[in-house]
Symmetry: C2
Subunit: 151 residues, 2 copies
DNA sequence: GTAATTCCTAAACCTAACTTTAGCTCAAGA
DNA sequence: TCTTGAGCTAAAGTTAGGTTTAGGAATTAC
């Protein structure tokens, strides 16, 4: 057993499948907060395995790290989260997922319209919808189509 | 009217809503190929408006630029694409969209299972599925969970 | 007790998809 | 004609989400 109780970062990495560097990065982003042993090394609780697992799932669902941090803020910080706590924030994830699915379904309908007429007429297409944040990355403002009537 | 026929890059930018810099970038990525006027400036065809619109839509659907280039390769290069040509490649897009939607629906089912038991037990969750490439970016191997049984 | 691991920090590097900047040329209007 | 607005290229900067590297310090294994 280790000098001070708790998991080392390497052990946590093995348990979650994450790289050690990724775990440190998540800490820098405020997603996880280990304590330090007398020698200055990070020590984690067993509950942190679940916490990081949650992070990975949320990422699959397309949430950004800041968004995930928000969701995790719904957990109690004065005690180890219970299954009920996890259930609660997982339901928030579910809502997020539903929204993404709805968006894609709407895009699909719109695309069908475009395919139907063969004209690829943009104003009918989904791009007008400013709520569609399916666009993951890329920096700067890419304001979505003013018009492209093909004159 | 311009010295040599065709749209200037600025005009194309106005018609599509894209930034001039983005259009040049797409050219560097092989998504569009203007010709040059005697002064060395880019000139575009009207059909290029539609081409760029297609690029924007495909991006909304989550395709990367290399993937979009592949799809666009399905257009004829010896003549201006007809509505039928666009329809054909749009249907490829539709298949791609369907796949993304299926993936998310599957994720949702899995999440429901996790919420149901409240345990957030990872092996039951979606992350085991190596086909889920919903994960857009980030470099290097982030091998998805070996195990996290919370022992 | 010492060698081999593991961990630490800070800073640099990576990819995708662009934007910004610098310095210069082309084109269009009065 | 001359000025101003577009355009050109090449290179550097940006964001997200990490990884890699460098140079030490703490732990663990023998």
């Amino acid at each position: 057993m280790p000098a001070s109780e708790g998991l080392s970062i390497g052990a946590l990495a093995r348990r979650t499948g994450l790289a050690v560097s990724a775990i440190r990065y998540y800490e820098a982003q405020g997603l996880i907060s280990p304590w330090r042993n007398p020698g200055g090394q990070r020590r984690y609780q067993r509950a942190d395995i679940r916490r990081l697992s949650f992070v990975m799932i949320a990422q699959q669902f397309g949430l950004t790290l800041p968004e995930i941090r928000e969701v995790l803020a719904g957990l109690p910080d004065n005690r180890t989260p219970t299954p009920a706590d996890w259930k609660k924030i997982s339901q928030g994830l579910r809502a997020h997922l539903d929204q993404r699915i709805d968006t894609l379904l709407r895009l699909r309908d719109n695309l069908d319209g475009c395919i139907g007429c063969g004209c690829l007429s943009l104003p009918k297409c989904a791009l007008y919808n400013p709520d569609d944040r399916a666009k993951a990355h890329g920096s700067g403002p890419r304001y979505l189509m003013g018009d492209a009537p093909e004159g």
